[in-house]
Symmetry: C2
Subunit: 322 residues, 2 copies
DNA sequence: GCAACGTGTGGTATCGTTCTCACATCTTGT
DNA sequence: ACAAGATGTGAGAACGATACCACACGTTGC
């Protein structure tokens, strides 16, 4: 069932059917006829043919490190909120934190397929910069500041600074557990904020560990730290996941030092003690990124809008006496 | 840059370039020439044109109620594991638990766009049955048993039964908190298993609440139950989320009755007491569903394979004396 | 010697749309 | 009354690939 058949059945030309489906400029009489035929046959235009002809796919590629993450699934949900409403579908690509896969997907998406890309990135190396510099498809980066491209990011530095103050107000020997500085947002910025808060009080960190994003990493890191510096009285963790691993260790050892996380994951209020953390409006970030992309798609202009999202420090029990 | 240009530059016909890209049957000499031209120009075949011509899109539609869920994100991850490897991309559609949206996406996907569909369904009503009966696109249902279609589902009934035994071995006045029976897997089957375990010991439930999937629902439901039946000594919850809400309430009231969940979400080991639950191999379910779909895509046969996945009961602290 | 087959090649039709153009008709304003 | 514009229509050319067909050549086997 194609547009030709419909045209024949309705006794009009193919072009008129096409207009009926798109512009207008069709007489009421023929409109009625075409409408009836389409109704009867259940005809639906071939998206493939439309894609070929119009160069629009109605697809937006979303590249994420992994789906099974609180923050990322919220971002994706936000993107969906906005884009689904505008008739776009999300083409999801998970990279499993593999930089090479990420680059591959960027390539794939660029070549074809999608009208735009939203990149939920973590690490940007030379290869990324080269690729992004001459990227053909509208792209928005979310979760990281990236000079020269549209991006929606979080005020990681100040957020980290403020949450660290929950520690510095009562602790003197504070340790740091974070991630690789290659991750500018989570690794570098949060560390910068952490150190800024310490120097406000003329403190220096007791110890610093660099780990992955998993709970076990936090668990083990705090073990190493406490072994070496048993008098540590506060721990800053770059993510809630890490912090929860830390709490688990502390509970086992019945060591009630203070802990902060970042991200306010769903589990932050479930652990005991409830975790002090920073809430980022991830869903909003996703929405915002989608809106910027939409704007680029509509105007066809590559604008390098940079949107910094707010945050909210939430003090719970892990920075009190528990 | 299209296949014509490449053909011209390489001094061969368009067809030969096409063969070079697909079958073979090209002389070494021309292969070399074409290869060089493609290399130089960075030419990439238009997916849109390929889609139109071949009727293959390389896309698989995945319909899920919401992305921000432990079980679902694991299923999606599993689907991705398998399908990405075979050159398919996932087209994600979230329905926000809205039946109408789900039907819409099913329609959208059927009409065009995708080679196959994986439906992560919850509720199947008349409308679904009508639609699925004459569905044109290979489809696999995951998470629910569905007669007449390929499906990958879990042994919810026996899993619920076994996990309930963790309660019946020491409790006599057991309450039930579940979800709507419209959800066959989570609502009906799990309840059936629960009741079966009770009757093994000639027990009857003390109370039964039907709620949504959120933590707050569990929190409030257990409040209502304990108000009416303060001597309740065990609670079966149809999902971990609900159970965690229940635990939160119990901790606040310092009431240490026994609790079970189902699904073994990431938070089950984080709450205090650690939650006894059932582990479903969601990621495997996703993989399995993807494999079944692949088989259907390859053979072009609509097979109604039904795969029941295993489970593992995990006893933790919430069914011990905590 | 020639039928049968495998290999290699190009021409052309085709997929199902939308776009451009030419032209016809119907409203306006002056 | 007539130009200018809005409205309405269809023919035919794209879009960029693959599929099908015809044909050419070289090798076999009998």
């Amino acid at each position: 069932m194609n547009i030709n058949e419909i045209a024949k059945l309705a006794g009009v030309s193919r072009a008129t059917v096409s207009r009926y489906l798109n512009n207008g400029y069709v007489s009421a009489e023929k409109k009625e006829k075409i409408h009836r035929v389409i109704e009867e046959t259940g005809y639906i235009p071939s998206t493939q043919a439309q894609m070929l002809r119009t160069k629009r796919t109605g697809l937006v590629g979303v590249i994420i490190p992994k789906i099974n993450s609180d923050s990322i699934s919220r971002i994706v949900a936000g993107i969906g909120d906005v884009l689904h409403g505008e008739g776009y579908q999300l083409l999801l690509a998970t990279t499993n934190n593999d930089e090479k896969e990420e680059l591959e997907y960027l390539q794939t998406f660029q070549n074809n397929h999608v009208d735009g890309v939203i990149l939920c990135g973590t690490i940007f190396e030379k290869e990324h910069k080269r690729l992004l510099k001459k990227y053909q498809v509208p792209i928005v980066i979310v979760g990281q500041y990236y000079k020269g491209e549209a991006c929606v990011y979080h005020d990681d530095c100040n957020a980290a600074k403020e949450v660290t103050r929950l520690l510095t107000k009562s602790c003197k020997r504070i340790a740091y557990i974070g991630v690789t500085p290659k991750d500018k947002a989570v690794g570098t910025e949060r560390r910068k904020g952490f150190l800024a808060a310490l120097s406000e009080r003329s403190l220096t960190e007791v110890a610093s560990e660099q780990v992955q994003f998993r709970m076990e990493d936090g668990y083990q890191a705090i073990g190493r730290i406490l072994k070496k510096y048993p008098d540590t009285d506060g721990v800053f963790c770059a993510t809630d996941h890490i912090a929860i691993g830390v709490l688990q260790y502390l509970k086992e050892k019945d060591n009630k030092i203070k802990v902060t996380g970042m991200g306010d994951s769903g589990t932050a209020t479930i652990v005991e003690p409830k975790l002090s953390s920073v809430h980022f409006y991830y869903r909003e970030s996703g929405k915002e990124a989608a809106r910027v992309l939409l704007e680029m798609l509509e105007t066809q202009v590559k604008m390098k809008k940079e949107i910094k999202m707010g945050y909210e420090v939430i003090e719970r029990d892990s920075t009190k006496n528990w």
